[in-house]
Symmetry: C2
Subunit: 207 residues, 2 copies
């Protein structure tokens, strides 16, 4: 199989992570979602908690103001980051790890502006998975065992953070179809249907 890096942006509760995981299983290739943070932390020398704390969060958050400093470090790949906010150092360390992961071979990477980090990579397929909000509310409430009202709040907050993070660090717009190679409604297709469409896309793209 030719090397292909699948990057998956996703609305919260759309099942984008599940799509990525099933795709990786089906193709027997590595899968990175939160796993990316662990690896980026290990390679950067920064503690993993910082990566989780800042994960896909906008830089203007309250947390950001607490941790803004001039902390510097040299990461695993030999890049030194000095005199910049910690949030940007964390972003750049992830950026390096994403490039390293992509250099190693086919894989699936969920979120974290991987499409932008790999914009020079010719073997990338960048997807966005989304669904109607009512469908996502029911899904999140069921999966997490919370009320629909709480699920709605969680969806609104998380999507806002993801959009803000993506729009700040890339020159593209989160959720706009033009930021991706394909965008799929998971309510209409189901998880397996999205996986099927992604494999079909790569088959056509590599004919």
């Amino acid at each position: 199989m030719a090397k292909i890096i699948y990057t998956i942006g996703r609305e919260f509760g759309s099942g984008g992570r599940d799509v990525g995981q099933k795709l990786a299983e089906k193709l027997n290739i590595p899968f990175y979602d939160k796993e990316l943070l662990t690896r980026a932390a290990a390679e950067s020398g920064l503690c993993e908690e910082i990566f989780h704390m800042q994960d896909e969060k906008p830089t203007s958050s309250f947390l950001y103001s607490l941790v803004t400093d001039t902390y510097s470090f040299t990461n695993y790949h030999g890049n030194t980051y000095m005199d910049m906010p910690l949030s940007q150092k964390v972003f750049l360390a992830q950026f390096d790890t994403i490039k390293q992961i992509a250099a190693e071979g086919s894989c699936v990477i969920v979120g974290r502006c991987a499409d932008y980090a790999l914009s020079e990579e010719p073997n990338c397929i960048n997807a966005f998975i989304y669904a109607d909000k009512n469908y996502r509310i029911k899904r999140v409430a069921h999966d997490l065992g919370i009320s629909e009202s709480k699920a709605k709040d969680m969806i609104n907050r998380t999507d806002k953070e993801r959009a803000s993070y993506y729009n700040f660090y890339t020159n593209k717009k989160w959720g706009d179809s033009r930021s991706y190679d394909l965008a799929l409604n998971s309510e209409k297709l189901g998880i397996d249907g999205c996986v099927d469409m992604l494999i079909r896309f790569s088959d056509i793209n590599h004919q």
Copy 2:
């Protein structure tokens, strides 16, 4: 074959019309692009030139100010439109024709907010076709035999008009993936590849 209405929004020069035409040919179902205007004109009793003049144009254009009046008419479907700008009468006449066309059976409709007109129709698949601007510039310049500079101007103007028209008449955003069931990059897939993906989508959706 189950009844399916495919609606196709598209960036200018992306080949969205070609995708729709090939899809209709392949499935042997009717295809409507400019054809919709002819039929809407015939059914409304308004002259066809008005439909072409106002086709997917924003209501705030200079043309709009010239034709704003209190012209009223009763169309083929028995609906009477009074005391509203002509642009809105034209939109509503198209709206009725789109619903009528969809009621007749499977078909492909390009542009003209057909996805919104058919939001209550359960057998709809709403797609958006787009591509990188440089790719579209070369394609339009080649197909129309004009300079790349002129092609770029035409693309910018037409996309702006289409976005403005769509955003004015619907509660959705033109080009945002969440406005459609799927969005496809025609540069990555080619025309036939897009057709293939649309058929695949409907196969999965109707399993």
